[in-house]
């Protein structure tokens, strides 16, 4: 199996005045194409920090991060934006849909920022929305649908650019457990279809949907566990 990303001795230190916060210390792991990995740990263990670096939203302060063979720490702002657009699909805990735009426009958004084929934008957005079962709600605004549906729109938005990695940060955190399970089943289905998925959570039951769980503690990998 081919490697999609590789992290080597990754560090992230925040400086709050004189106080140094070592959010990540010496993290190393690899993810293969088509894997479903959970990053799990208690609050403050560095999950979000790690996810921001994997998502090309932030630079590490030490170590190396390769995405599709490219050393991400060597990219400038615009190249990072391009990487986020082409290679990463984000699913956030707070959904982060644009409230004034329709669901269709929300899903089209990543396509409007990519240089290639904007001709069939709508087609691709509709296709992604059909995949999450919302093909009939295109003209609705985010405030007209439920939380679970919002998260499904977010998943559709993450899928629309056919990213290399789908990054989900506590995707069930704002949902009740039943709806959360529905979302997890949907993500599991995306894994079955061959997508690479990295899931960040502090809940063990949610983490177990993945086939591999990386346990994070105080900015270090505590355990890298494969689930059968």
């Amino acid at each position: 199996m081919s490697k999609i990303m590789k992290i080597e001795n990754l560090e992230k230190t925040y400086h709050l005045g004189k106080v140094k916060v070592e959010a990540l210390r010496d993290i190393s792991f690899e993810v293969n194409t088509g894997e479903f990995v959970s990053i799990m740990g208690p609050s403050g263990s560095g999950k979000s920090t790690l996810m921001h670096i994997i998502g090309c939203l932030d630079y590490p302060t030490g170590g190396k991060y390769f995405l599709s063979g490219q050393d991400v720490s060597k990219l400038n702002d615009n190249q990072l934006a391009l990487f986020r657009n082409q290679k990463i699909g984000f699913v956030f805990q707070q959904f982060n849909l644009l409230p004034r735009a329709t669901i269709l426009r929300n899903v089209e958004l990543p396509l409007t920022y990519s240089k290639t084929n904007s001709g069939n934008k709508k087609e691709r957005a509709v296709e992604a929305l059909e995949k999450v079962g919302l093909g009939d709600r295109l003209k609705h605004k985010p405030n007209e649908i439920s939380g679970g549906e919002k998260q499904r729109v977010a998943v559709a938005r993450a899928l629309v650019n056919h990213p290399s990695i789908i990054l989900a940060d506590e995707p069930t955190g704002n949902l009740d457990s039943k709806t959360g399970q529905d979302i997890m089943k949907m993500i599991d289905r995306l894994y079955d279809e061959g997508n690479t998925i990295i899931l960040v959570t502090h809940e063990a039951e949610i983490a177990r949907y993945a086939r591999r769980v990386i346990h994070l503690k105080d900015g270090l990998i505590d355990r890298d566990e494969v689930i059968a």
């Binding site: 934006a81 004034r100 920022y113």
Partner: protein, 406 residues
């Protein structure tokens, strides 16, 4: 990318209709003011200029003036009794830029026709007076050379005076008694002038006109006239003519300090008017500029609010692949939309204001395309200038911080 940004910006403006409108208000008023002011300025100047031109052609009036007396000393005699009739000939010879000098003898008396009597100004003058004043005869004739030479007691009435004395009757051929300082003289009405309105010397319509010789020899028995009206050869030569007349009067009255006479030319009045309208335009233009500036600050303010409010949106857009330039353009377009939309509304507002003001002031409505272009261009400039800082602030946001913003 630009089209995309325009679309996003329009959507967000439409989402905040009232707020957008309020923040556009400064631009609307500023642009409207520029257009209205320029229109009012050109319209009223045109009106005044044409009115002044209508007063006569290149007219220069020379009046006597009573010099100020020194402390404890009786003021020296007025120069009135130095304005002789003969000096008109000298004046014409001495001043090459003057083609004609018309002596005027002005008295006031009581005009009586049947049972109506009116106090009026009576001007003794000659045939040229009407021509120099662009003053046209409505009925009958103006005073002729013969009337003057033969001292005929004939009278031409201003339109208002004719109406006052004869109402709807035809005054031509009627008799008018003139009571001047206790003496009564009979006059035949030979003409009525067309309506003219105000002039340098007062309202021509209220006056009566008689031959100069009658006014001087019969009524007043005086050798001196009240004023001279000189006509310059052309408008280009008007100021030279004024200088020549000044030199002449200084020598003629032996009045180095120019205390005994006063010269008023049409050009001078025009200059005064245009300097007044010029000052007014500068003042109002300043107001317009300030309101455009305030409008710009209003736009900056609302854009800063918009950027802060949408911090998370900016983070989301960046996470989804928006580059800094995308965000910059989005917000720049938004402020440009605000200012240009405000500019368009301002043009409408200014146009309407200019129309009503022109109706009110009775001058032609003139909208200079330049003023529209200028005002609109300035509005756009303000949109970019004051939108740049908020847009840069948005573009430079760190995506992680922006996403975390509550």
């Amino acid at each position: 990318m630009i089209l995309q940004s325009i679309k996003i910006a329009l959507e967000s403006l439409w989402a905040n209709k009232i707020r957008s409108f309020l923040s556009m208000l400064g631009i609307i008023i500023g642009v409207g003011a520029v257009i209205a002011i320029v229109s009012v300025g050109t319209g009223s100047t045109q009106q005044v200029t044409s009115r002044i031109a209508n007063l006569g052609s290149n007219m220069i009036t020379v009046y006597p003036r009573t010099p100020k007396g020194q402390w404890g000393e009786v003021s020296s005699a007025s120069s009135q009794d130095k304005f002789s009739l003969e000096s008109t000939d000298y004046m014409e010879k001495f001043c090459p830029s003057v083609i004609k000098v018309i002596p005027v003898k002005q008295v006031s008396g009581r005009l009586i026709s049947d049972d109506i009597n009116v106090n009026a100004t009576i001007l003794g003058t000659n045939i040229d007076y009407a021509e120099v004043n662009n003053y046209e005869v409505g009925m009958g004739n103006f005073i002729s050379e013969n009337d003057h030479r033969e001292r005929r007691q004939v009278m031409v009435l201003g339109s208002q005076l004719a109406e006052d004395l004869f109402e709807d009757d035809n005054p031509i051929g009627k008799k008018i008694k003139v009571n001047y300082e206790g003496q009564v003289y009979m006059f035949d009405v030979i003409g009525v002038m067309k309506e003219k309105g105000g002039s340098i010397g007062g309202n021509l319509d209220d006056q009566a006109y008689i031959p100069l010789s009658v006014a001087m020899d019969k009524l007043t028995n005086s050798d001196y006239v009240t004023s001279y009206i000189a006509q310059a050869a052309s408008s280009e030569k008007a100021s030279t003519a004024v200088n020549e007349l000044e030199n002449f009067m200084v020598k003629f009255l032996d009045d180095e300090d120019q205390e005994q006479f006063r010269i008023i030319s049409q050009d001078e009045i025009l200059d005064t008017v245009s300097s007044v309208t010029g000052t007014m335009s500068i003042m109002l233009g300043g107001i317009a500029a300030i309101s455009l500036l305030v409008g710009g600050i209003g736009i900056m303010n609302i854009m800063l609010v918009s950027v802060t409010e949408r911090t998370r949106e900016i983070g989301v857009r960046k996470a989804l692949g928006a580059r800094n330039a995308h965000i910059l353009f989005q917000f720049l377009m938004e402020s440009l939309n605000l200012s240009s939309f405000g500019g368009i509304l301002g043009i409408g507002f200014g146009w309407t204001a200019a129309y009503f003001l022109s109706q009110y002031g009775d001058w032609p409505m003139v909208i200079a395309p330049l003023s529209i272009g200028l005002a609109f261009g300035f509005a756009l400039f303000i949109g970019i200038f004051f939108g740049l800082y908020p847009a840069m602030k948005a573009a430079k946001m760190n995506p992680v911080d922006a996403l975390r913003y509550e």
